[in-house]
Symmetry: C2
Subunit: 221 residues, 2 copies
DNA sequence: TTTTGCCTTACGGTTTCCCGTAAAAATACC
DNA sequence: GGTATTTTTACGGGAAACCGTAAGGCAAAA
């Protein structure tokens, strides 16, 4: 089993139970940090002292408080940690449930596993750690069968731009001017309408409001 | 210290650390349930067997799964538990941060304490349990000084209904018929428009899309 | 260069939404 | 019971969004 494991988790209660889970697995002295910056410091120290961590277990969301931080969330921590120590294995333990966001962690950050905070999360955490120890990738249970057959629609940069503008309150009629200024093409009102129409047709949506709600749920915007 | 304590919490990992906290306080065998219905059954059994629980520690949100439940959230559990055992002390342990919701728990359900899942939550949990054991009411740290000035706007049931309908793709013009059928009042298109207009004015929003995005972010819908 | 096909833009008609005003209904108050 | 106040509804003009069609632009192939 792993010997050097670091937990980055701001909730004390969660941190405690992750530690307990690790101890059950035979990790004698799991280390832990309540802030991303602290976690990164520990990782760097581990490298310098010739005892690098083998596994980082981290949350995604870290609440701000009176201690200003460089790294504000788990994704930033993972990126910084991998830069300092490319081979470091990473397991994310978070309440995030949006498939798009979770899949992005695998594709963009190359994480080794994800466990969602939910009913039998401690059990899943155990099996995930064991899988990663065997150099496997652990996919969360609730994402395995979706395989990605639905939701094949890929939102383009352009799509996301215009939906974001709408959700920020910009009027459709004012968007062409904005796009032109930013030199984003296409920029015409007609193209915009066509694009929105296509998306809504694809998902069988009838209103922009519905599209915005969907994108929020999916973590696209 | 308490002898009979029940934990209602669907997240295994959180449940584990609450148990550990209780054991640190000298509660030898804390009981726990992963579902509200199970928790209520245990409370009733406790009364019947002459060993009623002294304290219920419960979450607010319980995720649905394949086991259909009568009680779907912590508030319902608290109400049912208090009906079965009026003197039962209740400590809520949840990630909910909206002041209005938390204050509602004190005023509507008469809870004895609230601890928010956050950085030093295990420590706060300890002091809350000790305070409640001394018949005190425990107010969460982060709510003590905020007099509740900001965010005074309260979304009514009606507001949430119509915003939800919009985010489900219903056309504004079709909503009056829906409201009339459901016997929700007011139901006219004009009232609807006025209401939406007032909300958007309050938040200085210009579009429904913006309102939907906001409500998604705030967890209102 | 010309043709072909695709993407973008322009435009007009229709629908929906927005917003102000005023009537009607419901509620509260005397 | 009658009056005042608030809430709800009705209506109409104007703006924005929706939607289909057609014209223009651009790049790759002939």
């Amino acid at each position: 089993m792993f010997e050097n494991v670091l937990i980055a988790e701001d909730h004390e209660s969660t941190s405690i139970s992750v530690r307990k889970t690790l101890e059950d697995l035979g990790v004698t002295t799991p280390q832990y940090a309540y802030y991303c910056d602290d976690a990164l410091t520990r990782i760097r120290n581990g490298i310098r002292e010739g005892q690098p961590y083998e596994l980082l277990i981290t949350d995604l969301f870290f609440e701000e408080d009176d201690r200003p931080q460089q790294l504000t969330d788990g994704a930033a921590l993972i990126a910084a940690a991998r830069q300092a120590q490319p081979g470091l294995k990473v397991l994310v333990f978070s309440a995030e449930h949006r498939a798009a966001v979770i899949e992005g962690l695998y594709s963009d950050l190359g994480i080794n596993g994800y466990v969602r905070k939910a009913r039998r999360d401690a059990q899943e955490l155990k099996s995930a750690i064991e899988a990663i120890h065997k150099n496997k990738i652990h996919y969360p249970v609730h994402l395995r069968q979706t395989g990605g057959q639905k939701n094949t629609y890929e939102f383009s940069e352009f799509d996301i731009t215009i939906i974001t503008l709408l959700s920020n309150g910009m009027h459709q009629k004012d968007i062409p001017a904005y796009l032109a200024k930013k030199e984003i093409r296409p920029s015409s009102l007609s193209s915009l309408e066509k694009r929105l129409n296509l998306i809504k047709e694809t998902f069988e949506f009838s209103k922009n409001e519905q599209l915005v709600a969907f994108c929020k749920d999916m973590g696209i915007i």
